[in-house]
């Protein structure tokens, strides 16, 4: 019996190792390509590694970041790639702050205060998750156009301040697990509802709030369709949208530079992931259950 399960474990370990190599290989290929000189990316048959230590091109990263061809310092003191990074960061900060504040307040209203029609409104909020984005895409565009917001960052961060069904649901579930005795005690001590929210519920909900912040950060970093629709000026592009400029600039694509740019976009996410792994895994397990 013991030998049998040991064999099973060994087989599982083998399968896991083989599969992890498969899953990680594309990213390894991305990083290896980003370090090659251009001619080595187009050798037949392809070389896996840069041919020698001397040919490793760390400069590729400098080229992507400084990008002399497309950078006109008179027009913008910041080179394009960094500008895209700053734009993305700007949207991340405004979006994450808005998402956390608005969804926490809304979820509190749904989870801890009784008011007539609450459950109906909550059900309606959840129902919006079913509506495919293309259905509302045109009217939302028309609204932002009417407001004169097309070509500005506003359509990309203002909506975050109005909450989203998914986050409201997630936080509401979490808030409901906090004992009501705590809020009742605070209420007797003369604490206002906002005071209870801030002094009792928020401190106890930090893990859930972190999950919401984290997911929104990922969403903004990832978002392609939003910037594609609303951003018209190249100087305002985000990283996701700006990556296209490294694709086939002058005829043939410089794959080493494109992969260096991709690596730079992926890297912050992986770093954030390693520091927040716990929240990530918790968050996903939390949402997967009763979505």
């Amino acid at each position: 019996m013991a030998a049998k399960s040991l064999l099973g474990k060994l087989l599982a370990l083998l399968a896991l190792s083989a599969l992890s190599v498969t899953f990680i290989a594309p990213l390894a290929w991305m990083i290896l390509t980003s370090l090659k000189p251009l001619d080595e990316t187009m050798s037949m048959p392809p070389k896996w590694l840069p041919s020698s230590v001397e040919t490793i091109q760390w400069e590729n990263y400098v080229k992507v970041i400084v990008d002399k061809d497309r950078w006109d310092p008179d027009e913008d003191p910041v080179p394009p790639f960094l500008r895209y990074g700053l734009n993305t960061l700007y949207l991340v900060v405004l979006g994450v702050v808005g998402t956390v504040i608005s969804n926490a307040l809304i979820a509190y209203g749904f989870a801890r205060i009784r008011w007539p029609g609450r459950d109906v409104v909550f059900a309606l909020t959840l129902a919006t998750m079913m509506i495919p984005f293309p259905v509302i895409m045109v009217p939302v565009f028309a609204i932002f156009r009417e407001l004169g917001w097309v070509g500005s960052f506003k359509p990309l961060w203002v909506p975050a301040w109005f909450g989203s069904a998914f986050n409201i649901f997630l936080l509401r579930q979490f808030f409901r697990t906090i004992p009501t005795e705590l809020s009742d005690a605070a209420r007797i001590d003369g604490c206002s509802e906002l005071g209870i929210f801030w002094n009792v519920v928020v401190p106890l909900s930090k893990p859930a709030l972190a999950v919401v912040a984290l997911f929104h950060f990922m969403y903004v970093w990832n978002d392609f369709l939003g910037p594609l629709i609303y951003l018209t000026d190249q100087k305002m592009f985000t990283l996701s949208l700006g990556l296209q400029f490294y694709q086939s600039q002058h005829g043939g694509t410089e794959w080493n530079l494109l992969m260096a740019a991709s690596t730079l976009i992926v890297l912050p996410l992986i770093v954030v992931f390693f520091f927040t792994q716990r929240s990530f895994i918790q968050g996903i397990s939390l949402t997967g259950l009763k979505g």
Partner: protein, 309 residues
């Protein structure tokens, strides 16, 4: 603030108002970003609308035109094809990975991280990476395939109409990490005692998986199926990036949402795009209803009152 007694008399009304106040962003948001757009979109779908000029009513003309629009049918077919393969394959791969990860071996968290990382790579970056990996001449995949005996002429992948969709389906499977983590959480909730009992009764590992693990996991599999369906009907970014927006070659990757995007923002036929969006919505609702209705027969819920948190 107000004294306790004063608050008590007005307490009830106050709570109501505070509750409304707290939730008001959701109500405003719901109205502005959902209710109005949904209604407007339905109205536009019966109109000629370019955004630049006010909409003009054309009745069911947009819907009628859809019926004879070849690109509409192509994009619908492509999307159904994509959904039919990527969703079930993704679920099977994720389930097998989760089963493997659930074997108590050392370094499980490392493996879990490795499977998860591809799913946090931004879609634009992973799409660009996919073009390069599957580059017919210089790509890593074909370089490996050329070493396989019998393969002298590996596929052209994204540049071959017959292979373009499978290549994109492979992309979607690379990103199953999220589902793996959800399944893994589910697997850890399967009562260990059942396995022990089955083992005593002489059930093989395969039998144990089929008759204990799978039934316990059906709610998770069901959840992944519904979410996967809804997502795959709206599949957009990789199709846009991998084909430079063309949906090529020969419209083989012209997916529904990509087609819709072009009608709206390349042709400015916003009314037509809205009609397409409503057809999509109805299809999503039908697909979800079919899955939900049929689920009663195979989804097993441990306790009846699970929903009542």
């Amino acid at each position: 603030m107000a004294s306790t007694s004063a608050r008590r008399s007005r307490g009830w009304l106050r709570t109501e108002l505070t509750g409304l106040l707290f939730s008001s962003p959701a109500i405003i948001g719901l109205a502005a970003v959902m209710a109005y757009p949904v209604a407007a979109s339905l109205y536009y779908s019966f109109c000629n609308y370019s955004v630049l000029k006010p909409p003009t009513w054309v009745g069911t003309a947009n819907y009628e035109r859809l019926l004879t629009d070849e690109l509409f049918w192509t994009s619908l077919w492509n999307t159904l094809y994509f959904a039919a393969f990527s969703v079930p394959l993704g679920i099977i791969v994720a389930f097998l990975l989760a089963l493997l990860l659930n074997v108590k071996v050392r370094g499980m968290t490392v493996y879990r991280t490795i499977f998860y990382i591809p799913s946090i790579v931004p879609m634009v970056a992973s799409s660009v990476l996919w073009i390069w990996l599957f580059n017919p001449q210089y790509g890593a995949v074909n370089a490996l395939l050329r070493h396989v005996p019998g393969i002298s002429d590996p596929p052209g992948w994204l540049s071959d109409p017959a292979w373009a969709k499978p290549t994109i389906i492979l992309w979607s499977i690379w990103g199953v990490g999220n589902t793996v983590v959800i399944f893994l959480a589910g697997l850890q909730g399967v009562p260990q005692a059942l396995y022990e009992a089955a083992e005593v009764d002489g059930a093989s590992p395969w039998q144990r998986t089929l008759s204990i693990t799978v039934p316990y996991m059906t709610p998770y599999l069901f959840f992944a199926l519904v979410m996967g369906l809804i997502g795959s009907f709206q599949f957009f970014t990789p199709a846009m990036v991998m084909t430079n927006g063309t949906g090529g070659p020969a419209d083989s990757t012209m997916f529904y949402a990509l087609n819709l995007f072009h009608r709206a923002f390349s042709d400015f036929k916003m009314g037509y795009a809205c009609a397409m969006a409503w057809v999509l919505f109805i299809l999503v609702v039908i697909a979800t209803l079919v899955v939900v209705k049929s689920s009663a027969r195979y989804v097993y819920y441990e306790s009846a009152d699970e929903g009542a948190v």
